[in-house]
């Protein structure tokens, strides 16, 4: 490195700095300095209740005390669990936006004006038939409104093509904020919110049917579901190990894939209602692990390509994991079905945000509403338009079915975008949940929707324990940073081509 600065260099750097000055001033005051203060605070017992203008106790350094307290604090792990639970909605949102992008990516130009009219006429006729049918049966303004909106959407879509649908899809995420959260809070209102107004009659209809289901039958069904789940898990583990054995997957991919697959099976154990079924899943998973270990032992050497096939492991086994989780949830539902139906009042629509167990799913559902048409959909659309048409033609010549076209052409071509979206969603998911918690639930019921972000806010601004709050936020930062490092190490390969 040259240390001498030529006259020209000094001049250029001065000019460069002058242009940068306004921004860098703000950067120093509102980013750099707070950063150091915050790091310092994390190692002190700074507490607004003890150190304020009335009681000037001196702020003490406590070393790693805050961090030790944090890791032994059951609250922290509970709220971390909440955050991770809410993040389980991410893959569904990503899948939703991919689906939306795939639907929007069709060629809407028909070339003939006649087709437009055929489409519109068919739809209008279907809609009016439906309306007459429904209005004849029960005078519900809702049906009329739904049909009206759908008709308007389809007429707009037939003339405007992609952009009209895209606009409609994108609106929920574009307007997302306090206003939409308040709106959803009202939608979820347990007594007379529109969601329960529709749901309760449906549940009343189902109750007598479910009541006939005997508990033994339900247990049998649940057992069957669990067996399916166990077999699915076994096949997935088998697939992963085979891929590793064929050298199509490195050791890191193996570990991450297996970890993802085994998580739901371990979770089985935690649900007491399913303990016997949990052991089932556990046994099958253990079998898979034994098998994997055996293969590892038989495999002559550890592969040196440790990050190979990682995307596949994360995405495919991640999907398997979600499927297993869904099966597990379904098993729970089936088990509970006859019991709940025979309870007084039959099925009662959930209290959503006011219910300890339903609050998180309610927030995830709202998140899904916003996630379908979000920026991710636009990124996928851009990715789809970048795929060369030749690949599809080649697939057609080989006689590929639409599913094969998707699985062997579209999906691999989009893996870069998927990776980018997942990483970004995970990073924002870790830091997220503050606004919804503050506006809709106040972190409740009993802390079930308190995420780490809301916890930091509460500790810092409500309780005034600044030192502890800083420690939590730096721990959160460490997690985000770990994801970033993962991205740096493995993302470049997928995103930069």
């Amino acid at each position: 490195m040259r240390l001498r600065w030529s006259r020209n260099e000094i001049k250029n750097t001065t000019i460069g700095m002058v242009f940068l000055l306004p921004n860098i001033l703000g950067f120093l005051i509102f980013t750099a300095i707070p950063l150091f203060i915050s790091l310092f605070m994390a190692f002190t017992d700074w507490n607004l209740e003890m150190h304020n203008m009335f009681r000037s106790g001196s702020v003490k350094m406590v070393g790693f005390g805050n961090f030790i307290k944090l890791f032994t604090d059951p609250d922290f792990s509970f709220f971390l669990g909440n955050t991770l639970f809410l993040m389980l909605g991410i893959p569904f949102g990503v899948a939703g936006s991919l689906g939306a992008a795939l639907l929007l990516n069709h060629n809407f130009k028909t070339g003939s004006r006649r087709l437009y009219w055929i489409i519109i006429l068919t739809v209008v006729m279907t809609a009016s038939c439906l309306m007459m049918l429904c209005v004849g049966m029960a005078t519900s303004a809702l049906t009329i409104i739904v049909c009206g909106v759908a008709g308007a959407a389809i007429i707009g879509g037939a003339f405007g093509g992609q952009s009209v649908y895209r606009t409609l899809f994108y609106l929920p995420s574009f307007t997302s904020g306090v206003a939409t959260f308040i709106l959803w809070k009202k939608l979820y209102s347990p007594e007379n919110g529109p969601i329960n107004n529709v749901l309760q009659p449906l549940l009343d209809y189902i109750t007598p049917v479910a009541a006939k289901l005997s508990p033994g039958m339900a247990a049998f069904l649940a057992g069957a579901l669990l067996v399916i789940m166990g077999i699915g898990a076994f096949l997935a583990v088998f697939r992963r190990v085979r891929l590793w054995h064929l050298g199509e997957c490195g050791i890191l991919g193996l570990v991450i894939g297996m970890g993802l697959l085994i998580t739901p099976l371990l979770c089985c154990r935690l649900w007491s209602a399913l303990s016997w079924g949990g052991y089932w899943g556990f046994a099958i998973a253990a079998l898979g692990v034994c098998f994997a270990v055996f293969q590892l032992w038989r495999g002559r050497s550890f592969r040196s390509v440790y990050d190979y096939g990682l995307t596949d492991a994360v995405i495919i086994d991640g999907m398997f994991m979600l499927g297993l989780f869904c099966l597990l949830g379904l098993t729970n539902v089936v088990m509970a079905m006859p019991v709940e139906a025979n309870a007084p009042g039959g099925y009662i629509a959930p209290k959503w945000l006011a219910d300890y167990y339903w609050a998180k799913p309610a927030l995830m559902l709202m998140g899904f509403w916003g996630a379908i048409g979000s920026n991710n959909m636009l990124l996928y659309l851009a990715g789809l338009s970048g795929i060369s048409q030749d690949l599809y033609e080649a697939a057609d010549i080989d006689g590929a079915t639409p599913f094969q076209r998707f699985w062997h052409v579209t999906w691999p071509q989009l893996s870069g975008v998927t990776f980018f979206i997942l990483i970004m969603s995970i990073m924002s998911g870790l830091q997220g949940g503050f606004e919804t918690a503050r506006v809709m639930t106040n972190g409740g019921p009993a802390g079930s929707t308190t995420t780490l972000a809301y916890y930091i806010y509460n500790e810092g601004f409500a309780t005034g324990r600044l030192g502890y709050a800083s420690a939590v936020s730096w721990t959160l930062f460490a997690m985000v940073f770990a994801v970033t490092i993962f991205n740096w190490k493995f993302g470049n390969k997928y995103t930069n081509d």
């Binding site: 600065w5 250029n12 750097t13 000019i15 460069g16 700095m17 242009f19 940068l20 306004p22 921004n23 860098i24 703000g26 950067f27 509102f30 980013t31 707070p34 203060i37 939306a100 809407f108 028909t110 489409i119 739809v123 303004a141 809702l142 409104i145 909106v149 959407a153 389809i154 649908y165 895209r166 606009t167 409609l168 899809f169 994108y170 609106l171 929920p172 307007t175 997302s176 306090v178 206003a179 939409t180 308040i182 709106l183 007379n192 529109p194 107004n197 379908i372 636009l378 990124l379 851009a382 990715g383 830091q431 506006v439 930091i456 810092g460 600044l466 800083s470 936020s473 930062f477 985000v480």
Partner: protein
Amino acid sequence: MFKRTMRCNRGLRLLILHMTLALIATTLALPFVWMLFTSLKRLDEVGLESWLPEVFQWHNYADVFAMKGILFGRWYWNAIYVATWVTFLQVFTSSLAAFSFARLKWRGRDTVFLLYLATMMLPGLVMMIPNYQIMINLGLVDTLSGLILPCAFSAFGTFLMRQFMLSIPQSLDEAAEIDGASKWTLFWNVILPLSRPALVTLTIFTFIGNYNSMFWPLVMMKTPARYTLPIGLMAFESSRGQQTNLLMAAVAMSVIPMILLFVFMQKQLVKGIMLGGVKG
């Protein structure tokens, strides 16, 4: 053969496609539809199963402004005032910095830029508490300038503008230099006008982001007269939330400007998201 069957089914496929898309779009739009209809109901109609009001109560919208303790007009104005200032300052400082990073050559430039990039991944939460302390020391707590100042500098904006400015041909700089233009002239008369697409995108995103922003105003604002719209809506919801029809009118009024903005600006926005996202 395969091609021909495809063509025959084209109309049917298109029909199914349209119906699926319309179905999804309708489902996504229903909350907004409910919001609009509820905002036009009488209070005693709100919880009813029927979505349609008996008589459209258009005066609900005017009533929101006249409510006691709900300074809706004031909050509206504050939100737009803050968002406008933040947008103006942020776009200005970002494009200056981006010009420096993209079009000027100086020592240590890339190191400084990397530093900027690194701050983009810092969670805002980490800085929030010390920033609040700084605001106390500056005496800016509970003032609108306290809302505007910390948000006026953005690493993301700088990044977005820089990416765009890099794509402008370098020969323009040389031509301008030969004509004897100063760096400022180059920036103001050549590069900035050419960066219009990125400018528009950044403007809209910053505006919407700040119009919607809640965390910082929630921390900073104490006096109801200085609330911005999101905080105001929260106050409305917690104090008069029972009046669902008026609340929905207020929500609708805060959402509709964004919807209109999006509908009119969607071309630029979609381009901008791809610009910032794919390369980011």
